[in-house]
C-alpha cells in the first residue's frame, strides 16, 4: 500500500490539520512546495523556510525543514541573512500579498535588486486573511474588502512585473487549481541562481470569496480553471481574449551571478587572493 508521500516532510509532533480555513489555497501550494523539494531530492537539513506574518506565513511550522517564522514583512530580510551567512542552505521565503508587497515591499524590491539567492513563494489571495479581510496591494480595483465596503479605490500590484523591474532573475505565476504546473514552477525556481519569485494565486473562500460573492472554494478553483491561460497560449491570442484572465507560466528567466557568489569574490579580493 502507498502512504501519502508528503507525510515524510511534515513536522514531527506538530498537530494537524493546519490553521488555514476549509478550502484555502495555501494548503495546495504547500503540497506543491513539498513535492518540488522531494523531486529535487534535497536534504531537509539544508532547507530553510522563512516566512513573515499572515495566513501564508504560518506554513513553515508544518514542514520539517529549518523554519523561521519572522515578523510582518521582514521574512526576506531575515532570509538574506541566513543565506549570506550559510550559502549552502536552500532558502525559501513564504510570504503573502500583504506581507511581501505592503509592509515588506522595500525588502522585496531590494532583495531582487541585489539578487539575493532566495526563492520567494508569494501566496497571493488578494486580501489580508489573518486580520479579517482588509484590502491588500493585490486586491483588484473595485473589489470589496472589510476596509473597502464600497470597493477599493486603489490599483493593484503585479508582483511578477515588479520583481522583474527590480532585477529578479526568475519570475513565474501559477494557480492553486493547477497544482502540478505550480509544482513544476516551484521546482524550476528552486534550482535558479539568484532571486526567484513564484506568485501562487491562492483562493481565499472565507473572506475574499465571500465578500466578493465568488462562491466557495470549489467555485473559486473552477473560476481559476476557466480563467487561466498559460503565457505561451496567451501570446498567440488577441488582446481582448486575454483581458481579465490570469496568465501563468514563466515570465522572466535569466542567468545571473547571485549576490552570495559575488560576495565570495569580494572576500577573495579583501584577502588579497
Amino acid at each position: 500500500m502507498r502512504m501519502h508521500p508528503s507525510y515524510e516532510m511534515l513536522r514531527p509532533g506538530k498537530k494537524f490539520p493546519h490553521v488555514w480555513c476549509p478550502g484555502c489555497g495555501h494548503g495546495i501550494v504547500q503540497g506543491a512546495i513539498i513535492r518540488a523539494v522531494q523531486k529535487l531530492g534535497w536534504s531537509r537539513d539544508e532547507m530553510v523556510m522563512v516566512s513573515g506574518i499572515g495566513c501564508s506565513s504560518r506554513m513553515p511550522v508544518y514542514v520539517d525543514f529549518n523554519s523561521l517564522h519572522t515578523a510582518h514583512g521582514r521574512a526576506i530580510a531575515f532570509a538574506t541573512g541566513v543565506k549570506l551567512h550559510n550559502p549552502k542552505l536552500h532558502v525559501i521565503v513564504i510570504t503573502g500579498d500583504g506581507d511581501a508587497l505592503a509592509i515588506g515591499g522595500n525588502h522585496f524590491i531590494h532583495a531582487a535588486r541585489r539578487n539575493a539567492d532566495l526563492t520567494v513563494i508569494l501566496m497571493n489571495n488578494n486580501i489580508y486573511g489573518m486580520t479579517g479581510g482588509q484590502y491588500s496591494p493585490t486586491t483588484p480595483i473595485g473589489k470589496r474588502a472589510s476596509t473597502a465596503p464600497y470597493g477599493t479605490a486603489e490599483r493593484d500590484f503585479d508582483p511578477c512585473a515588479l520583481a522583474k523591474a527590480a532585477g529578479a532573475a526568475f519570475t513565474a505565476r501559477g494557480v492553486a487549481y493547477n497544482a502540478l504546473e505550480l509544482e513544476k514552477l516551484i521546482e524550476t525556481a528552486l534550482t535558479k541562481k539568484g532571486f526567484s519569485l513564484v506568485e501562487a494565486i491562492s483562493p481565499c473562500p472565507t473572506l475574499y470569496g465571500r465578500l466578493n460573492k465568488e462562491g466557495n472554494a470549489v467555485k473559486m478553483l473552477q473560476w481559476q480553471k476557466a480563467n487561466t491561460i498559460n503565457i505561451k497560449a496567451a501570446e498567440k491570442l488577441p488582446v481582448d481574449q486575454v483581458a481579465g484572465k490570469i496568465i501563468t507560466g514563466i515570465f522572466h528567466d535569466v542567468e545571473t551571478v547571485p549576490y552570495t557568489e559575488i560576495y565570495d569574490q569580494i572576500i577573495k579580493k579583501a584577502q588579497g587572493k
Binding site: 513536522r11 514531527p12 509532533g13 506538530k14 531537509r44 537539513d45 539544508e46 530553510v48 522563512v50 513553515p60 511550522v61 520539517d64 525543514f65 529549518n66 523554519s67 523561521l68 517564522h69 519572522t70 515578523a71 521582514r74 530580510a77 531575515f78 532570509a79 538574506t80 541573512g81 541566513v82 549570506l84 551567512h85 550559510n86 549552502k88 542552505l89 522595500n106 525588502h107 531590494h110 560576495y263 569580494i266 572576500i267 579580493k269 579583501a270 584577502q271
Partner: protein, 378 residues
C-alpha cells in the same frame, strides 16, 4: 612582545572589539553618528571571511542579523536615534525567539531627526522599554574608547550565553572621541561561544533546556531542525495559546535576567571608600564627572564616582546601598533625567538627590558637575 597601542575612535574600537569577539556578520544601514562602525566592519569582515551587508533600512539591518544569527553567525548591527526606533519591533523578536546578537546604538539627540551630529544619553529608557511587551534587556554603556572595545566583547559573550540581543549603548561623545588604547592580545579577553547540543536531533527541543542560560542550542543548518517564531511558543518552538505554556515562556525570559543579576551587573566605583557625596553617572557624561571629582578631591571634598557599565538590568542593589551610605547623590547625565528616574525609584531612604543635566547637544562639562559638588558642600 611589543604592546599594540592605537589611537582610535570609540566607534572604531567597537568594531575592532566585535572582530576580536568573533563577529562574522554585520548588517546595517548608515546613520550618523554610528556609521564608522559599519565602515570598519565593511573593511575588516571580508578579510576574516565574514560577511557585511548594507541593507535597505534599519529594520532590514536587524532582520538580516537575526537571520544570520539563527543560522549560527555571531552577528551585529549598529545604528543611532531614528534607526534604533525602527529596530524596536525586531529587538522584541530577538528576545522572544531567543536569538543572540549585538545591537550598537550610538546615541544622538532626539526626538525625531533631532541632532544627527550631536550626542545624548536619552535612549536609556528606549533600550529598556522601546519594544512592546514584557521582556528582559541587557544594555552596556562604555565611558572610554578602550571600554567601547571591551564592552563590545562582553556584549557578544552575554548575547551568546543569555541567548538574546544585547544592546551596546554608546553615545556620540564616546563614539567620536579619539584616545589611545592598548589592544588586548589574542586570548587576553575571555570569549564565550554557546555550546552545540549533543543529544540526537529527535531528542532535541530548541527551547527545551530547563536552564536557558549557558545551555546548548543549535543553529539552522546544523542537522537539528526546529521552528523559530515570534509567536509565544512552547519548548518545541510551536506557537501556543495555553496559559501554562505562556507563563513558562514569559518566566523563562524574565528569569534568565533576574536569576543571573550578579554575573550581569558591573558598577565601577572611584573614591567611594570615604565619600559623603556620590556622583552617579555613566557613558560619556561619566568622563566629565570623573574629572570634576578629581578636582573636588584636590580641594578636599569627599566625593566619589558611581558608574554602572551595565545599565540594564539596572544595578538596584548596589546603588541602593550607596544611597543609604552617602549624604548626597548627584546624578549627572545628558538627558532630561532618565538615569535620575531610576535613582529616585530606588531612593527609599530619601537621600538628597541633585540632578545635573544637559540636553542642548553639548557635552556636560567637568565644571558643571564640579559646581554642583561645591554647591552641596556650602
Amino acid at each position: 612582545m611589543s604592546k599594540d597601542i592605537r589611537l582610535l575612535q570609540g566607534n572604531e574600537a567597537c568594531a575592532l572589539g566585535a572582530i576580536y569577539a568573533g563577529c562574522d556578520f554585520f548588517g546595517g544601514y548608515p546613520i550618523t553618528p554610528s556609521t564608522e562602525v559599519a565602515e570598519e566592519m565593511a573593511l575588516m569582515l571580508p578579510k576574516k571571511g565574514g560577511k557585511f551587508i548594507q541593507m535597505e533600512d534599519e529594520i532590514a539591518g536587524i532582520g538580516t542579523i537575526l537571520g544570520a544569527a539563527a543560522a549560527g553567525a555571531k552577528a551585529m548591527t549598529a545604528t543611532s536615534g531614528p534607526g534604533f526606533s525602527l529596530m524596536m519591533e525586531l529587538l522584541g523578536y530577538g528576545c522572544m525567539a531567543e536569538i543572540p546578537c549585538v545591537i550598537v546604538n550610538v546615541q544622538r539627540g532626539g526626538p525625531s531627526t533631532g541632532l544627527p551630529t550631536k550626542g545624548a544619553q536619552a535612549d536609556m529608557m528606549q533600550a529598556r522599554w522601546g519594544t512592546h511587551g514584557d521582556h528582559p534587556t541587557i544594555a552596556l554603556c562604555p565611558s572610554s574608547v578602550e571600554e567601547s572595545f571591551k564592552l563590545t566583547v562582553k556584549a557578544f559573550n552575554l548575547a551568546e550565553k543569555f541567548r538574546m540581543p544585547v544592546i551596546l549603548l554608546l553615545d556620540e561623545f564616546i563614539g567620536h572621541m579619539r584616545e589611545k588604547m592598548q589592544m588586548p592580545a589574542p586570548g587576553e579577553l575571555e570569549l564565550y561561544t554557546h555550546p552545540q547540543p549533543t543529544v540526537s536531533p529527535a531528542e532535541y527541543t530548541h527551547y527545551g533546556d530547563g536552564s536557558s542560560v549557558g545551555g546548548p542550542y543549535a543553529s539552522m543548518g546544523s542537522g537539528y531542525r526546529f521552528n523559530i517564531t515570534g509567536l509565544t511558543h512552547d519548548q518545541h518552538g510551536f506557537p501556543t495559546g495555553r496559559s501554562d505554556e505562556i507563563q513558562w515562556k514569559m518566566d523563562r525570559l524574565k528569569d534568565k535576567i533576574e536569576k543571573h543579576r550578579p554575573e550581569l551587573l558591573e558598577v565601577d566605583q572611584e573614591f567611594m571608600d570615604d565619600a559623603e557625596i556620590a556622583v552617579f553617572s555613566y557613558g560619556g557624561a561619566a568622563r566629565s564627572a570623573q574629572q570634576a571629582i578629581r578636582e573636588a578631591r584636590a580641594r578636599g571634598i569627599k566625593v566619589g564616582l558611581v558608574r554602572p557599565t551595565t545599565i540594564w538590568p539596572f544595578p538596584d542593589q548596589a546603588l541602593e546601598e550607596i544611597l543609604r551610605k552617602v549624604k548626597t547623590v548627584i546624578v549627572a547625565e545628558i538627558s532630561q533625567g532618565q538615569l535620575l528616574g531610576e535613582i529616585q525609584r530606588l531612593n527609599q531612604t530619601h537621600t538628597k538627590v541633585i540632578p545635573v543635566q544637559r540636553y542642548d547637544g553639548e557635552m556636560l562639562t567637568p565644571n558643571e558637575v564640579l559646581n554642583a559638588i561645591v554647591e552641596v558642600t556650602k
